[in-house]
Subunit: 474 residues, 2 copies
Amino acid sequence: MQLAKRLTLSLACTLLSVNSFANQPVIEQAKIDTAKQLINTALESNLGYEIVESLTTEVGPRLAGSEAEKRARKWGEALGKELGFDKVSVEEFAMPFWDRGQLQISLVSPYQQELYGTALGGAAPSDKPIDAPVVYFRDVHALKNVKAGELKGKIAFVDGDILVQSQTGAGYGQANMRRRIGWQHAEYGEASALVVRSVGSDSRRFPHTGMMSKKDDQWANIPVIAVSNPDADHMRRLHELGKSLQLSLHSSSKWKGKVGSGNVVLDLIGSEKPEEIVLIGGHLDSWDLGTGAVDDGAGVAITTAAAALIAQLPERPKRTIRVVMFGAEEVGLLGAFSYALQHADTLKDHVVATESDFGARTIWRLVSNVNPDANDFIDEIAKVLSPISIVRGGSDVRGGGPDIIPLALKGVPTIRLQQNGMDYFDLHHTPDDTLDKIDSDELAQNVAAYAATIYLIADSDVELRKPAEEKASE
Amino acid sequence: MQLAKRLTLSLACTLLSVNSFANQPVIEQAKIDTAKQLINTALESNLGYEIVESLTTEVGPRLAGSEAEKRARKWGEALGKELGFDKVSVEEFAMPFWDRGQLQISLVSPYQQELYGTALGGAAPSDKPIDAPVVYFRDVHALKNVKAGELKGKIAFVDGDILVQSQTGAGYGQANMRRRIGWQHAEYGEASALVVRSVGSDSRRFPHTGMMSKKDDQWANIPVIAVSNPDADHMRRLHELGKSLQLSLHSSSKWKGKVGSGNVVLDLIGSEKPEEIVLIGGHLDSWDLGTGAVDDGAGVAITTAAAALIAQLPERPKRTIRVVMFGAEEVGLLGAFSYALQHADTLKDHVVATESDFGARTIWRLVSNVNPDANDFIDEIAKVLSPISIVRGGSDVRGGGPDIIPLALKGVPTIRLQQNGMDYFDLHHTPDDTLDKIDSDELAQNVAAYAATIYLIADSDVELRKPAEEKASE
């Protein structure tokens, strides 16, 4: 009965939306009006904030593969049902579990001082406390010149520069090198352990965690520890004074075998083209140090709230809107790869995909990488977003967010609503990633932007997918 | 030879400074010019920053009574000699030693989550891990209503409000009640342990340490732990959701018997009235969590640098300028009380005393509590400071800084150059109190203000001490 009503209404919409005539607007006014209503509703609503508050408070930190991440999936399922999604499912997958364990790290020479550090993801344990002289490297490039065996019996310390703050997060990749590949060079030098300056843009006494990169499909065989920027500053000053540094460290971080994880999938089924999927989402797992508020409780909250507001419209948009709460993002996009595999047959039906995984500051730009014929359509969406201070960015910008990478690799078009990332790397992967860092007004602007954008795409016939020959050439 | 020259010059100064005639300026122009030169020199100098950099880097954290505090005294002695002070001495005293030990604290119900906490100064250890339900108190006033034995087998959690930020630090006393006396009520209720919201104005995941108050000359018999503001927020939200909280904690903090501490005293001996003492200083000890940069490496640096700049003038001011690097301030002003005791006979010769112990932000106000006849003299000093954005505050404001309390109780006049304390309690007593939080330009303004003020007082005949009858009436 309800479905019949929806179909009737959507048929009317279809008739209205035929725009094959010259001078026909790219998006008809009624839809723009609905999008604007969604923006106004979102700006008045506290739903996004309530979702991230609930996730961070009632579930807490959610390390990939942990019991807490499992509770988060149950939370996500219950939330999807409560908010009226048409279909709620959990898609499970297996994964290896890395446990941070406990760490003690201190300077022991020239004097005793506790350092603020944490193990990096994938690091091996120390079998017993390691007490060793430090070899100082000004940056990861200097470490790359190390000779085989040169660091035997030593701890390598890789300094570096503080991550450059920017709206776009441009500084991350460069700073991240010491975290990702430093261990490979330290092991080549036969160091007992590697300590790196945290990858973060802040000057707070928090270490920043994060995953290392595998080499030849192998993880590090030594402990790898990030220390806070003030601690790295301290060691640099002592080194520059000509002091010999000695560290003591003991870490129990290690791999602990296979566990289960999963993606939570919430669908608003399209009224006219239910097989066509507009995919949005965030990741449900978080690092364990904080409570994963900005990374990425915010993304889960923004996209779920946006879809939930669209669910309150009198009828479903034509296309299916799918919110995916990805599992195990932090440890290598495991949920994302699992999704791409489990949905391999229908990826061709994914009209567009985007993830919110860059905090909850104001969205300032909309970028895209879709069928060039649809660029004017995206331009029109950007005009709708302009009153909430969002500018149209490039139409050839790859990347819809980390968990969208496996989909984009398979040709799924992407857009991205970019948050201001100026202070994102102050918080990201630290104990300080907690709810109080989220501004509810900024979060509401995010929900508004997502709701309007996703509604307009889902209730459209515009083809965002690229022609087959173009995909093939990429 | 040098002394003879100094005496000759100071005699000339004395002749110039006789201002018994009507319309004679309160401070003669030549001295104002010298003070202005000191300001300019200080603003161009990096000496203050170099001192705090050296102390925090080469000595590190300096817990009262520790081996590190002893190294700090050696550092202070060496610095005094290097900077040309006329007399450098260390005045030792004995004190009881409290050791923070190790702490593990986590939420275990409704789920497992590590909390960021630290033991409060004077707290007792847990003999074994304490795993107990939490009784929530919205603030310390609520805890005061607890009935005898009511908390048996429970952990009391005292929430509260975040310390109100202000230039003056006005919020500290009120917030501090939960830290100081909470344990007395928790013990009356027979709680197994007390956990309090940190006394801090920040929303960072750092616990704030600090000393508790004794009761009937006794310290707490239970573990007392401060958790960070975000952790306290988290527990409050769970409590408001109706969840039963359970905590697990294990702390090895304890008293460990008598140790030695000391004050480092650096004198620039007065050229004309060497027995009259203008006392400035900071405290050499720090809490062990950070490296004691703003609390109180800055104060040591500011006052030492100011005196060192005065030492470079062609002649010594008339009165003795004494820099005291107080020991064991954090644990109960032990160095300050020892100083007052060891110098009891000469306190009457202390013309004025002031301590810098409120960080290193820009000084914005000069307040005083001296002989009312000298108020116009202080007003004139304030005029000299006006170009560096310092305003004259009250002339009846008690308090020259924490370590000045024992002196003020004995009638020593006080002034205070007040730093902007707006973010002081974000850092104070946390792991985040590190060198990078100090702005070298702001620190230089502090040195400038101290140098000019102290020079003008030391090279003056104005009597700041109150008449005996007024002292007696206080």
